[in-house]
């Protein structure tokens, strides 16, 4: 079974450039653009990892993260903040709420994102590639 990634992102451009390499590496990528629907989607889809933007319509990424950590059924899911807003305040709040990583969109090369995700999911890159091949 390919690992499932929920990508909470309202900017179609960023969704396209980051989801393409993840899909190429065999991940099952699900997309939500409205922040207010994110928690519900996590509960129904049970993703292995969430890529979470901060500035979103409906509910902010930080509020989503806080709610995920407060709910019994979602508190363990891995969450990576993927944003363009790198203020100290945002980073410290994300860490306080239990984010597993904090990536800046303009610092990470899309083709390198799958390796980063594989590391967080405790996979070697090769094993992810094998999923694609199988």
């Amino acid at each position: 079974m390919p690992k499932k990634i929920l990508f909470v992102e309202d900017d179609e451009g960023f969704y396209n450039i980051f989801s393409v390499p993840l899909k190429m590496k065999g991940y099952d990528v699900i997309h939500v653009s409205d922040g207010s629907l994110a928690v519900e989607k996590v509960i129904t889809e049970k993703p292995d990892l969430i890529l979470l933007d901060i500035v979103l319509p409906g509910t902010s990424g930080l509020d989503i993260l806080k709610e995920l950590r407060e709910r019994e059924e979602t508190k363990e899911v891995k969450v990576v903040m993927l944003t363009n807003f790198g203020s100290d305040d945002n980073i410290s709040k994300a860490m306080e709420y239990g984010s597993n990583d904090y990536l800046m969109k303009y610092n990470i090369v899309p083709s390198e994102l799958p390796a980063k995700i594989a590391g967080l999911l405790g996979e070697a890159q090769e094993s992810v590639v094998r999923v694609t091949e199988s």
Binding site: D11, N16, I17, F18, G58, P110
Partner: protein, 276 residues
Amino acid sequence: MQDYILNILVIFESILLLVISLILFSKTRDLTKLKKYEEAFIEEQAKKHSEQNEFFPMVIHELRSPLSVISGAADLLIKTTDELSAEQIHTLLHQIKSSSSGLLKVVGDILDISKMEGGKFQISETYGDIRDVLREECGYFEPLAKVKNVALSCPVSGKIPSFSFDSDRVKQVLNNLIANSIKFCPEKGKVVVNARKDARSVIVEVADDGVGIPDKDKPMIFHKFFQASNQAGVGEKGTGLGLAICKGIIEAHGGKIWMEDNKPSGVKFIFSLPIK
């Protein structure tokens, strides 16, 4: 005689003191004026500084986002060409095009606002029929309205004479107003674009039945960088320059732009263009 001289001296001294007091009083008034000028200058500088503080992070964000997307898409196309499907290549190329257009729009907005502020903004008026401009803009937004399940109509009624206006700039105003109306309209909402003639001008309205604008935000809606508190989602995106530019364009025509509540819900943006 001595008393007389003494009296003259006392009177002279009093007059002298009075003159000195008057001079001092006038100087003090000058100083108070000067102080007021200084305070106004400091306040103006603080305002400029605060606008710059708002302006630069916003501009950097608005430029950096599409640039990051363009750079990321190009990187994928270069590094993984052989692994990408035809559909993925198409998506990435389309993304580069749309992000580049977004980038050009932001740069255009910044140029427009800086020309407006420097008093160098100019329009180029030609004789034409504004109903054609309205129909063209509505046609442009029809696909987007369909996707968002919003009914967009352009029932331009009545006789409107041809007159001189800058059709590209008026299109820019309509583009901004219609895009905003569609964006903030609920599903199955309505956007109506209309025009009519009054005594000396043509009045154009873009009305929607969306969320409207909170009373507290109304006085600020045409100010640069301002975004209504109920319309930007969580956090704020966009330059907040759109309506300020619309105002600049309409005023450059000698017209006016304003907003009204569209009862029972939503908002109407209205502008007038003098017939000349």
